[in-house]
């Protein structure tokens, strides 16, 4: 901060040195001609860290300057002038969204970048925006997610808003244990990180896996309403939603204001689909011994029966590959059977056992067909070994004849 005290002198010196074009003799950092740039003017002389951060962002290359947001004069060589001219300094949090919107809601200015201009109006509909309008300044504003100076586009992997960084960006507040306790909200970040979605994104590197914004919206972030949940999940899980809506659960749960999907699967900590839950999940709401309570275990039994048959078939195919017997067709049919099983799990969302049984039965029959066909082939292989008996009979006969011939004295001419 001693630099700030000697700013005018240093700046004058820097200018003199720049004019003398003797950079090698210049004092390091302060006053170096490189601290005065087109993007940040002379602000970087006193605010080097902010200048460096700012100049990493695309703003610095697009005719946005320090003064565009902060006001003041970036050509002044003394602090008083620099901080004159409508200088705002550190901005009031409540005014940030409107300030950013002054450019980002301007259709004409955003057109070259093909950027949307509805972020501000969306923000105003978001829980963040509504609370901010109500005077709660703790809620997220633009700079909390995008950064203040080092604003990077989502396409940059180190950006706060790159897909794989979004959970951490939201988690700065929604995973902050103090904040979460104070405001009586869920620790959504911690829950999300245990979910199958996070596993897909972070462990398997699937950048199409859903993050916070996939369900809650980006600028208009808000929790989905009870009746919206199946629509939000159904954006990706289309088949599950179709079966769910066809089944009895959809109407009855809606009538009793029970949220769809999350009633069984949870909201943030969504587990990977587990077949065994089919056997235990019904008992959460229905009596275990009742007709409805038994439905899940019955579907599970169908499923597991079919799975056993398919696994047996796969073992036989592996054996056949060792021989090798032609198995390309069997590999394809096992895939087909597994597809039926996958569809059976999806169909279970309609909670109609006969619908599930339609798929499990098909899967099971493919499994048993493969087994019987391969068993037939193995049997043929085995029985062909019995020909060794016939073979050895002839071998022994031949050896016998040769022995006889050997022991008979050769005929003389």
């Amino acid at each position: 901060m001693s630099a700030r005290a000697s700013t005018p002198v240093a700046a004058a010196l820097a200018l003199a040195l720049a004019l003398a074009a003797a950079p090698a003799a210049a004092q390091p950092s302060i006053g170096s001609p490189r601290t005065v740039t087109a993007a940040s003017g002379r602000c970087g002389v006193c605010h080097p860290a902010e200048r460096v951060a700012f100049e990493t962002s695309p703003h610095a290359r697009e005719d946005v300057h320090c003064v565009s947001c902060h006001g003041g004069d970036d050509r002044a060589i003394d602090e008083a002038t620099a901080h004159g001219h409508g200088f705002t300094g550190r901005m009031d949090r409540a005014s940030i969204p409107r300030m950013c919107a002054s450019c980002h809601s301007d259709e004409k200015r955003m057109r070259p970048y093909d950027l949307p201009v509805d972020q501000f109006s969306l923000y105003q509909t978001s829980r963040h925006g509504i609370l901010l309008a109500g005077g709660d300044k703790q809620v997220a504003v633009c700079s909390d997610c995008h950064g203040a100076h080092d604003i990077l586009p989502a396409s940059d992997p180190v950006s706060r808003i790159a897909v794989s960084n979004i959970p951490r960006t939201c988690g700065r507040c929604h995973g902050d244990t103090t904040l979460v306790r104070q405001r009586h909200i869920q620790n959504a970040y911690a829950q999300y990180m245990t979910s199958v979605h996070a596993h897909q994104l972070f462990d398997l590197g699937n950048l199409r896996a859903p993050t916070c914004v996939s369900c809650h919206g980006v600028h208009g972030a808000t929790p989905p309403e009870v009746d919206e949940i199946s629509k939000v999940c159904g954006r990706c899980h289309t088949a599950e939603r179709r079966y769910f809506l066809a089944g009895p659960h959809a109407q009855k749960m809606a009538a009793q204001d029970v949220p769809a999907c999350i009633a069984c699967h949870g909201n943030h900590a969504i587990e990977a689909s587990r077949v065994d839950r089919l056997g235990s999940g019904c008992a959460n709401c229905h009596e275990a011994g009742s007709r409805l309570g038994k439905m899940g275990p019955a579907m599970l039994a169908d499923y597991q029966g079919a799975m056993t048959e398919i696994e047996k078939a796969e073992k036989q195919i592996a054996r056949a590959d060792e021989v090798p017997i032609q198995t390309e067709d069997y590999h394809a049919r096992v895939e087909e059977a597994r597809t039926y099983l996958r569809e059976a799990m999806t169909a279970a969302h309609a909670v109609q056992p006969e619908l599930v049984a339609g798929f499990t039965l098909r899967a099971r029959s493919v499994g048993t067909e493969i087994q019987s066909e391969l068993q037939h082939k193995f049997f043929n292989l085995k029985t062909s070994k019995l020909f060794l008996i016939v073979f050895w009979f002839y071998v022994l006969v031949t050896v016998g004849i040769l022995l006889r011939t050997r022991n008979r004295p050769p005929r003389r001419e």
Binding site: I325, K385, F391, W392, V395, T398, R406, P410, E413
Partner: protein, 383 residues
């Protein structure tokens, strides 16, 4: 011999065959060609190349001989017979085999699965190779035990060891060719040991095209397996039978055993019986214990418990259990490769320093050590 035996065909036909042979005889020295062929294991009696073929055969047929189609002389014969079998089946396999990383496994499975009788050819080649390696190793042990490295049989001993080394190399290059996951990784382990030998390790790596098994190594293994090593092997067979022709069989030289003298008639039939039983045995093994495929090789994932081929297992525990550096195992391998052929020859020349009895005892000790380490190498450190 059949040409020299009593003729069945009618007079007219016989004369036609005779005239054809006469026609050839005037243009080629058939006896010389026959004599050349005998160097590869048909007859070991000297052939008089000045006589016409039929007269030469008659003379051979008339003389009594020591039957070598019986234990233990049969081992020498088997090295030639099995090599013949491997050559025939190998040529048939080469018609369908693709020596590329992409094509090797698929073409091998296609031979076994799709080509008519392909499975039979492949299994015969596989089992014939296993038997051949067993036979050459057994033969070296037998020659050692019966002290057949004494003059004038030094070359017989050296050629037997040579045949063993070449057969093991044929096995090593051949087992890589199916590009099966097990064969690939066992070759990989083997190559690590071979490559860790001082001096010749890097040389072998250079000849094979790398210390890690890649497609280049596959192609070179193939070339070595089907061209270079078979020629080396034939050279060994030739030396074996050429020395035998000069100095005769051991029993003959020792002279006494009259019961081993036999006629060509008996000998030929013994040979035929041997061939029939050998083929029958191989067919049985090939049918009951066929080679199994375990999926194509994947250089990016090592299956558990990979071991080098059995004949390279003995230096393996040094690395695996005693944590010795790899070059120690390589040195052991190299020294054993030098000691096996040279030590008996040296002992034969210096009987005072190392008697035959002492050498036998040393041989037993080394062989049991080798066996123990081989078993250790096969089972130690399995997960």
């Amino acid at each position: 011999m059949s040409a020299g035996g009593p003729g069945r065909p009618r007079e007219a036909e016989k004369s036609r065959v005779d005239s054809a042979i006469d026609w050839l005889e005037q243009r080629l020295n058939l006896t010389e060609i026959f004599s050349f062929l005998t160097h590869f294991g048909i007859v070991y009696t000297p052939v008089d190349t000045r006589l016409p073929l039929r007269a030469a055969l008659r003379r051979i047929g008339a003389s009594p001989l020591v039957s070598y189609a019986r234990w233990p002389q049969v081992l020498g014969l088997l090295t030639a017979l099995l090599f013949g079998l491997e050559t025939v089946t190998g040529i048939l396999l080469a018609f369908y085999y693709h020596p590329t990383a992409d094509g090797a496994y698929d073409s091998t499975t296609a031979i076994v699965r799709d080509v008519p009788a392909g499975w039979f050819i492949h299994q015969m080649h596989h089992w014939g190779a296993l038997l051949l390696v067993g036979v050459v190793v057994a033969r070296v042990i037998r020659l050692f035990w019966d002290r057949l490295y004494h003059p004038p049989r030094e070359l017989l001993w050296l050629s037997a060891v040579w045949l063993m080394w070449v057969a093991l190399q044929l096995d090593f290059t051949g087992r890589l060719l199916p590009w099966d996951v097990h064969s690939y990784w066992s070759s990989m382990r083997g190559l690590e040991l071979i490559g860790s030998q001082p001096v010749i390790g890097p040389l072998i790596g250079f000849v094979l095209g790398g210390r890690v098994i890649t497609e280049n190594v596959l192609v070179r293994s193939y070339a070595l397996h089907i061209i270079v090593l078979p020629l080396f092997y034939l050279g060994g067979v030739w030396i074996t039978f050429a020395t035998m022709r000069r100095i005769g069989l051991s029993m003959q030289a020792e002279g006494g055993d009259e019961s081993s003298r036999t006629t060509w008639h008996r000998h030929t039939l013994n040979l035929l019986i041997l061939l029939v039983l050998l083929t029958a045995g191989l067919v049985t093994l090939a049918t009951l214990l066929p080679f199994r495929f375990h999926g194509p090789a994947d250089p990016y994932s090592t299956p558990a418990n990979t071991r080098p081929p059995w004949y390279l297992l003995s230096p393996f525990p040094l690395v695996q259990l005693l944590r010795a550096p790899e070059w120690v195992a390589g040195l052991v391998l190299l020294l054993s490769g030098l000691v096996v052929p040279i030590l008996p020859l040296w002992a034969a020349r210096h009987p005072r320093r190392l008697s035959d009895q002492g050498l036998r005892r040393l041989g037993i000790v080394l062989l049991s050590l080798w066996a123990v380490f081989t078993v250790l190498g096969a089972f130690a450190g399995r997960r």
